[in-house]
């Protein structure tokens, strides 16, 4: 039979490193997009054979290790930077990175994270900020916006009782052991491309042996926010990015 199909050229597809495991995230969650980005950047840099990922507690705990085909471990709440420290010290040629949510890194693990920055560990952290505890059902996170309703701030987060939202990349930028600190999103195609660049720079810093690198992703959590996936995109543009401006906060090629 004659083949009428014209010559097809594959121009896109699933990243090689994306395993067959189905995504575990809610519809409209941005973690799946970020996982894809991680796959792409790790492939582009050719470091899949050396990469070791550490997933914090939260929706990335099983989600990242099961879907990205590199060495992984899941970690207890907030302790990924301590575990990554030892792994990197033992295998200095490996590319060691943590993926941690806002509760994991910003609340229960803030001390552990800051001390790793203080030591100037040669690590990379992907910080997922969706302003709520998604896995446990939508409680307040350290990054919850003022006035934002969560299950533990039923009237909206109040300054008087719950304090201010936490700005991790800005905080990291003040630390001498940090080489790169940036915030991005994947909520529009243009921002996805910018995020790819930021993530690549962050890994490159580690490959160059320069200190700690960090990229925050402001990310949607439809059930946590009580919004449908499309409204989440507006919420990011109109609310989240007002509190959490995008951009680079530090980018140096050597540490003092």
């Amino acid at each position: 039979m004659e083949n009428n199909v014209p010559d097809l050229k594959k121009i896109t597809g699933r990243p090689k490193l994306r395993t067959d495991f189905p995504g575990m995230y809610c519809p409209g969650c941005h973690y799946g997009i970020i996982a894809r980005l991680l796959c792409e950047v790790i492939e582009e840099l050719g470091i899949e054979g050396k990469a070791i990922g550490l997933a914090g507690v939260g929706c990335s705990f099983g989600g990242m290790p099961l879907t990205i085909d590199v060495d992984w471990t899941s970690c207890p709440h907030g302790r990924a930077p301590a575990m990554a420290t030892a792994i990197k010290r033992i295998h200095p040629d490996a590319t060691v990175f943590t993926v941690q949510g806002d509760g994991d890194l910003g609340a229960i693990g803030l001390g552990c994270f800051m001390n790793a920055l203080g030591r100037g560990e040669n690590l990379t952290t992907v910080f997922l900020n969706n302003a709520v505890y998604g896995t446990t059902g939508g409680q307040m996170a350290p990054t919850t916006l003022l006035g934002m309703k969560t299950t533990t701030t039923p009237l909206g987060r109040e300054l008087k009782t719950s304090g201010y939202p936490l700005h991790i990349p800005e905080l990291a930028a003040t630390m001498k052991g940090v080489s790169y600190s940036a915030r991005c999103t994947v909520h529009t195609p243009a921002n996805f491309q910018k995020a790819r660049k930021a993530l690549k720079i962050a890994f490159q810093k580690q490959l160059n042996g320069i200190g700690y690198s960090l990229v925050e992703f402001v990310s949607a959590c439809p059930p946590g926010w009580g919004l449908n996936p499309l409204d989440c995109l507006d919420f990011i543009s109109e609310k989240m990015l007002k509190e959490y401006p995008l951009g680079e906060f530090k980018n140096v090629d050597s540490l003092d």
């Binding site: 899949e48 054979g49 050396k50 990469a51 070791i52 550490l54 705990f61 099983g62 290790p65 099961l66 085909d69 590199v70 060495d71 992984w72 471990t73 899941s74 970690c75 207890p76 302790r79 301590a82 575990m83 990554a84 420290t85 030892a86 792994i87 010290r89 033992i90 295998h91 040629d93 490996a94 590319t95 001390g111 552990c112 001390n115 030591r119």
Partner: protein, 360 residues
């Protein structure tokens, strides 16, 4: 002939670890064990190893967890309050079956306790699964500097063999006292390669290693426990260690471990000179506990006396081991010659107690 040197118990911990091939140490200062991280910070860089001073004992245990996952022999040491902070991480080590050695140089607690005072008040904590979830870890309790040095090597072997955290407990007295030791290398059976270690998948021919919590694995957490139950049975069968002293023909059997066992041994000699037929059983593994051996010996004696520098913890395991109605007495911390930092239970006090029990 191997070298003989004069060292403290804490020094013997560090030397024993290095003898066992441990090149990575993660620790935090706390009295009375700080000589261990100090020694490691000095010596490990010389042999291409790594010492990291963490921000807390919580930091230490998770560095240990990471280091264990990376496939190397790793350890940390601490004292009682720090050990409580580590308990959570030890639970994770047990869950993911990552080998690690954790040394607890006990000080008297609870709470802050006191850094400059001995005590054996962590017995229940170390033997009953110190963190959440119901697991067991092998617990070694040496009673001399030589035994500390040797058991550190045993600890690393057992950790690798059974893929389990191994705890080694000493105390203020054992940590700080000096004794001669022979720097001997113990021989062990060969161990399987750690093909599960995180190294980057290129070192495994492109096959990745992924350690995700038990609940993500086939059969979930219950399946994990079933597997552990089998492993614990195997450990109980093969790894019970204990020592007896004049126990064959004794009327009264003393059970004591660690520094209290040293003192009790002196009391046995003292008592024998006075015509008291005393004997000693010293558990070397606190878990697995020498229950069978205590059960057998106790059936041949009139009385059992547990000597421990605590309010009575070891006695729970001794009583649970004994199947007859032989009376079990306790001599605890109240028998110290004073309640201050230097207070200890003297052998004379043990003899006094024996005579009291005997109704003299």
């Amino acid at each position: 002939m191997s070298d003989r040197i004069f060292v403290s118990g804490n020094n013997a911990v560090a030397r024993g670890a290095i003898q066992a091939g441990c090149k990575y140490f993660f620790g935090y200062p706390i009295t009375p064990q700080s000589e261990i991280p100090e020694y490691m910070s000095r010596e490990l860089p010389k042999i291409g190893g790594v010492f990291v001073q963490s921000e807390s004992e919580s930091g230490s245990i998770y560095m240990v967890y990471g280091g264990g996952l990376a496939g190397e022999r790793i350890m940390t040491s601490t004292s009682s309050p720090g050990f409580s902070l580590m308990a959570e991480g030890i639970s994770y080590l047990a869950e993911t079956e990552i080998p690690a050695v954790i040394v607890n140089v006990m000080r008297m607690g609870p709470g802050i306790g006191t850094g400059g005072q001995g005590g054996q008040t962590d017995y229940l904590q170390v033997t009953k699964g110190c963190g959440h979830g119901g697991y067991r870890a092998i617990v070694l309790a040496p009673a001399s500097c030589q035994e500390i040095f040797d058991l550190m090597q045993v600890a690393f072997f057992l950790a690798d063999k059974y893929r389990t955290p191994v705890l080694l407990v000493t105390d203020f007295i054992l940590g700080q006292m000096d004794e001669p030791i022979e720097l001997r290398t113990l021989e062990f059976e060969p161990l399987p390669k750690k093909d599960w270690a995180l190294t980057g998948k290129e070192k495994r021919g492109g096959n990745r290693a992924a350690h995700i919590a038990a609940f993500f694995t086939y059969g979930g957490v219950v399946n994990y426990h079933m597997k552990q139950i089998e492993k614990y049975k195997e450990i109980k069968k093969a790894e019970v260690r204990y020592e007896t002293y004049m126990a064959e023909d004794c009327d009264l059997l003393i059970v004591a471990y660690g520094s209290s066992a040293r003192i009790a041994r002196g009391a046995v000699d003292m008592g024998r000179n006075k015509g008291l037929k005393l004997g000693l059983l010293r558990p070397i593994t606190l878990w697995p506990f020498p229950a069978e051996q205590i059960s057998q010996l106790s059936s041949k004696v009139q009385k059992v006396l547990v000597v421990e520098d605590s309010q009575g913890q070891l006695i729970e395991d001794v009583e649970a081991s004994i199947k007859t109605s032989v009376p079990v007495h306790l001599l605890g911390m109240w028998a110290r010659h004073n309640t201050g930092g230097g207070g200890i239970i003297h052998p004379e006090r043990i003899i006094e107690e024996v005579e009291k029990i005997n109704g003299k």
